[in-house]
């Protein structure tokens, strides 16, 4: 029977299946961070269990870490205690840890691909919903809760039910200035924040095939924002080229054997999807969110919607609540919304390509005098690469702040937070109430829109920039 890519990967990992029970799935790679793991390690200790496969487990510090003074002890005692708990647990259970200051430290979903640990056809889990990011390599990768973290630590398996299959097809060519972030925001606006519940999404079509690995990761990353269990993309030459030579990629004859297998990881002709969504790349434009969930987004040329136009009671109430929180008036052009802070970073858009695109727009210019811009590389590796390319200087000369690696203002567990009522344009993935700081208001945007917005202080696409916005540095 013809199978989808996700079904192939799933089937290759079934350890045991029995009627009336979930399948037991083998997990090839378990990524661990400080926030969702302490209670899992406590559970192991309480039951006298060990970590079954420390060699398939890797930990890092990302959510709590400060992005300034990273070599000093963390000032916040509660954050420090959590990071110290991870260090103790990693030492006690024999797990590799990339702590602050280590060259491999960074956001868990940035370091997996960077090290070449994320490989096609594997199963990857982490106590973090954005584990879907790794699906960009054709891996079946999904977020789990702390009880499941404990389960994977103890057994290297997870009980799972076979997910339903959804295809999101994007054909055609993306217009200039339209990026992967805009594609995924458009998909989520179309199907809603839980529209893919119970499904794995496979992204396909010529527009997806044309994307770089970084851009594919941006798309798969936000699958969870559409409610999907996972999102993936068939591996191809772009994938292999990205992986070859990375520290954990196979080498020599192993590489050849791996590539031969990876080439089979495609959805068969005639395989059946339970749901299909089709987008025309040529019709997409830069997208921004106006509300408090990632499905509340529109093209930047639109206006803040009027809840009165919505016929569904729940949707109207949700829109009213969102606008009240966001402090927005229906009918306001999105391009007139002024922001206080621009955040460039996160596991969605904190990779080298994202920084390059933003830096290109900022090169030789000054950001708006009343706007602060925070640039937070996704990992120490990304930071080093950016510095080698001189991107840090571009950001600094434009008036932005250049920080250490971590999750930072994506969720404000460290000191990088919005103040109440402050408004951001953020390349992260969630515009939930208070996500970036209590009372903070978030507009999700792509890296090009983030850079253009920093220049004007209003939500702006690169194509909207006027000569007057482009005050050159030194003037």
């Amino acid at each position: 029977m013809p199978k989808t890519l996700a079904e192939k990967v799933y089937d290759a990992h079934v350890v045991r299946s029995a009627a009336g029970e979930p399948d037991l799935l083998f997990i090839d790679l378990h990524l661990v961070h400080e926030v969702t793991s302490p209670q899992a390690f406590d559970g192991l200790r309480a039951a006298g269990r060990t970590v079954r496969r420390p060699d398939l487990t890797m930990a890092t510090e990302d959510h709590n870490v400060p992005t300034l003074d990273i070599l000093k002890p963390i000032a916040d005692p509660v954050s420090r205690a959590q990071v110290e708990a991870l260090r103790r647990n990693a030492a006690e259970f024999g797990i590799r840890l990339a702590p602050m200051g280590d060259r491999d430290q960074g956001i868990v979903h940035v370091i997996g691909p960077q090290l070449g640990l994320t490989q096609p056809g594997t199963t990857i889990v982490c106590g973090d919903s954005h584990t879907s990011t790794h699906g960009a390599f054709g891996a079946l990768a999904f977020g789990i809760g702390t009880s499941e973290v404990e389960h994977v630590l103890a057994t290297q398996t997870l009980p799972q039910y076979r997910p339903r299959q959804m295809a999101v097809t994007v054909d055609g060519e993306l217009p200039e200035g339209v990026s992967a972030k805009d594609v995924i925001l458009a998909v989520i606006a179309r199907i809603g924040t839980n529209g893919a519940a119970g499904h794995v999404i496979e992204y396909r079509g010529s527009a997806i095939e044309a994307l770089s690995m970084e851009a594919r990761m941006t798309i798969c990353n936000m699958s969870i924002e559409a409610g999907a269990r996972a999102g993936l993309i068939a591996p191809d030459q772009t994938t292999f080229d990205f992986l070859q030579g990375r520290p954990h990629a196979p080498q020599g004859a192993d590489w050849d054997a791996a590539v031969e297998y990876w080439r089979t990881l495609r959805t068969d002709e005639g395989a059946v999807f339970d749901a299909e969504v089709v987008l025309d790349a040529a019709e997409l434009s830069p997208f921004v969110t106006w509300g408090t969930n990632p499905g509340q987004g529109l093209p930047i040329s639109a206006r803040v919607p009027d809840p009165a136009d919505l016929t569904d009671d729940n949707e109207r109430r949700a829109a009213e609540q969102a606008l009240a929180y966001m402090g927005l008036t229906p009918g306001t052009p999105l391009r007139e919304i002024e922001v206080d802070t621009v955040f460039l970073g996160s596991c969605t858009n904190g990779r080298i390509e994202d920084l390059r695109i933003a830096a290109e727009l900022l090169r030789g210019k000054k950001i708006d005098a009343d706007t602060r811009m925070l640039v937070v590389p996704g990992s120490v590796g990304v930071k080093a690469q950016a510095e080698a390319e001189g991107l840090d200087q571009v950001f600094l000369e434009a008036g932005a702040e250049w920080r250490g690696a971590g999750c930072s203002m994506c969720l404000g567990m460290n000191p990088d937070q919005l103040r109440p009522g402050e408004r951001s344009a953020s390349t992260s993935n969630r515009n939930f109430q208070g996500r970036q700081g209590k009372g903070g208001r978030t507009h999700l945007v792509s890296p090009p829109v983030a850079a253009a917005t920093a220049l004007t202080g209003r939500l702006t696409a690169p194509a909207d920039l006027q000569p007057a916005d482009l005050t050159s540095a030194g003037v």
């Binding site: 398939l56 398996t157 039910y161």
Partner: protein, 202 residues
């Protein structure tokens, strides 16, 4: 964790949360996730709404003791934080009813013995109305019979047989999987040698 709280049947009062797409950042904001314990999260439960909105449903005295939360569609979206389940349980809830849940939240709930019940939106609306008219209405959620009942109304719901059995018995997943370690070993023996290892490379 060695065992979950078993769930058979529960009777209590219900709080009507008329909001859709309640994400786990609202159920418990990130600042409370720095703790390394598994209990004591009640102060974080809906903390922003409780603080900023005087008429938020859980601030209303008639709903303060509710143990069944009746929410709008798409409850528990967003972050995988299991702390959301712990906070609800620490806050006195044993059941959440919605027409649709986010997958990870629903999965997490079954690990700690919080029952998530899916009812059609029309039934959710009817229940909202009933408990708004009389907040003291006792609501019974019976997992054995798979029904929600209040007043004269009884509505059926469905839970996966396996999950239902696990909840009724209060069984722990790790212990169940350990019965099949021989299968895990056999699988491990079949794995390709070139698959990645997380141990330091080069």
């Amino acid at each position: 964790m060695t065992a979950v709280d078993a769930f058979t049947t529960h009777t209590g009062t219900a709080a009507p949360l008329r909001r859709s797409a309640v994400d786990t950042d609202q159920i418990i904001p990130a600042e409370y996730l720095k703790r390394i314990t598994r209990t004591g999260f009640e102060d974080g439960l809906f903390s922003a709404w409780r603080k900023n909105e005087p008429d938020f449903v859980l601030n209303q005295p008639q709903h303060a003791d509710a143990s069944i939360l009746v929410a709008g569609p798409d409850f528990g979206t967003g972050s995988s934080r299991e702390h959301a389940v712990w906070a609800l349980m620490d806050g006195g809830f044993r059941v959440v009813i919605s027409s649709r849940f986010a997958d990870i939240f629903r999965n997490n709930s079954t690990k700690s013995g919080l029952l998530t019940v899916v009812l059609p939106q029309a039934e959710v609306e009817a229940l909202w109305q009933a408990v708004e008219v009389d907040p003291a209405t006792p609501v019974t959620v019976d997992l054995q019979a798979e029904t929600v009942s209040y007043g004269e109304v009884t509505v059926p719901f469905e839970v996966e047989d396996y999950t239902r059995w696990r909840l009724l018995e209060g069984l722990d997943d790790v212990g169940l999987t350990e019965r099949h370690l021989a299968d895990v070993e056999a699988y491990e023996a079949r794995r390709q040698p070139w698959l990645p290892k997380a141990l330091p490379a080069r």
